[in-house]
Amino acid sequence: MKALVSVKRVVDYNVRIQVKPDGSGVVTDGVKMSMNPFDEIAMEEAVRLKEKGKITEIIAVTIGGAKCEETLRTALAFGADRAVHVKEEGDIQPLTAASALAAVFKKEDAQLFLLGKQAIDDDANQTGQMVAALLDLGQATFASKVDIDGSKITVTREVDAGLETLELDLPAIVTTDLRLNEPRYLKLPDIMKAKKKPLEAISFEALGVKPAAGLKTLKTTAPAKRSKGVMVKTVDELVTALKGKGLL
């Protein structure tokens, strides 16, 4: 059974984001880029499922320009067997990404698709659900536990009320939440091995994907800054201040 895992190259989660003064976007030149943390969790889960003998092959897929190959190499170092690079430049919005990913899923005849629940750049939280819609498959978003049993997958999801468990027929789409696992540290031999693993490039055209009409970004602005407040020395001072403002 094949699993497909999508990975996205994003600004590293530790970077302090700077909005360009002209409002045209955020500064990405010379900024550290990494695999989206939720996608690392998806990769890790796929590798664990393979180690348990539940799946036999892991295919990593990304969409983006030439530099995204790095992210695929990271996925291969995690343990993906091969990689597919949907090589397209520019602003690719979730529905377009989902169309391409759905096409790759079909082409590969995979049974499980693991995606991060959101990418920490656009924070959209849409792509997995859209892939599921386009393929008319079941979806389990925000997964914190995954169990495959034959042709079924049981997924525990983090919802606002607590934890929900769903059972889905395979093939199915699962998006990962933070507590699904803790991704491993990559070791040098694995990184070296990854360089030799197969990586195939493909285009939207070859996949039969036409970019959907997108949202137009008019401008990007920095959020209103919270001003630094006051430091109090004692609990009494704090209580007086909060009571003074009618907060307690």
Binding site: V26, A133, V159, A161, T217, G229
Partner: protein, 311 residues
């Protein structure tokens, strides 16, 4: 004129408080506003929705298959209901985030995530990069705009109306590939984290589930909801539904206490709209102090009990 379909969320048989905030966004867009409620029995929620200011009509979509919320079965029905509407709005909760993209994809449109401000019927602000870059976007009006609303950015509308309640039926055939197994809900007598005016959150510094009692006890004294950082949830001190932040709950209380929380950007993303932030941390250099309205450097294990005694 806009014709807006608001998908209401039901929790424990009642209308979820977030729906009144989605209504605020719908009112800002302006037009005819219809609230649709899906479930097996949505009577009580429909009563609640019919009172919300700005609602013209409430649709009850009752089917036995709707007893459990499943994106795979809700989405095709919402697609069916959305015919003729210019906007389909969902709350930006786990419920809305799960279903809205499935609806948008079926309609062939990009979805707008987490609307935080409405400029016109087609132009909105939304946060990216954990709230560190705000995009002003223009969405194509045709065929429809599908969006989730960032609840912390809107004030709930009043329950001053009296809209008509109608039954609506859907004929979409529903897939059987997804089945509900169980929900382990955290039962709590405390105020709801997303609606509370006061929230007390604890971080990794608490060190254990047992020590978290300090937080609960103080919160109960001032009638606050309890939240946590990701580190506290990951360490198993508290359940997942208490996580506040970029990937947890986004909240906007009047008063927020961050206790033993360093102030990582992912945590701050969840509290930026809090009116007053109080930070208690033993490290004077902790980033949380850069955004706190009141900061107190000290050991939480002595400060919090003292605070509890003095309020």
């Amino acid at each position: 004129m806009a014709k807006i379909l608001v998908i209401g969320e039901i929790s424990d048989g009642k209308l979820n408080a977030g729906t009144a905030k989605v209504l605020a966004a719908a009112n800002a867009i302006g037009g005819e506003i219809v609230v649709a409620l899906l479930g097996a029995d949505v009577g009580a929620a429909a009563e609640g929705a019919s009172k919300l200011a700005g609602v013209t009509k409430v649709l009850k979509v009752e089917r036995p298959e709707n007893a459990h919320i499943l994106a795979a079965t809700y989405a095709p029905q919402i697609v069916e209901l959305s015919k003729g509407y210019s906007h389909v709005l969902f709350p930006g909760t786990a419920f809305g985030k799960d279903i809205a993209p499935r609806v948008a994809a079926k309609l062939g449109v990009q979805q707008v995530s987490d609307i935080m401000a409405v400029h016109s019927a087609t132009s909105f602000d939304r946060p990216t990069y954990a709230g560190n870059a705000i995009l002003t976007i223009e969405a194509p009006a045709e065929p429809a705009i599908v969006a989730t609303i960032r609840l912390a950015s809107f004030t709930a509308v009043e329950a001053s109306g009296s809209a008509a309640i109608e039954a609506a039926s859907t004929t979409a055939t529903l897939p059987a590939h997804t089945r509900f197994v169980k929900l382990e809900a955290q039962k709590s007598e405390r105020p709801d984290l997303q609606a509370a005016s006061k929230v007390v959150s604890g971080g990794r510094a608490l060190g254990s589930a047992d020590n978290f009692k300090i937080i609960y006890s103080f919160a109960d004294k001032i009638g606050a909801a309890v939240g946590a950082s990701r580190a506290a949830v990951d360490s198993g001190y508290v359940p997942n539904d208490m996580q506040v932040g970029q990937t947890g709950k986004i909240i906007a209380p009047e008063l927020y206490f961050a206790i033993g929380i360093s102030g990582a950007i992912q945590h701050l993303a969840g509290i930026k709209d809090a009116r007053t932030i109080v930070a208690i941390n033993k490290d004077a250099e902790a980033p949380i102090f850069e955004i706190a309205d009141y900061g107190l450097v000290g050991d939480l294990f002595s400060v919090v009990p003292e605070l509890e005694a003095k309020v």
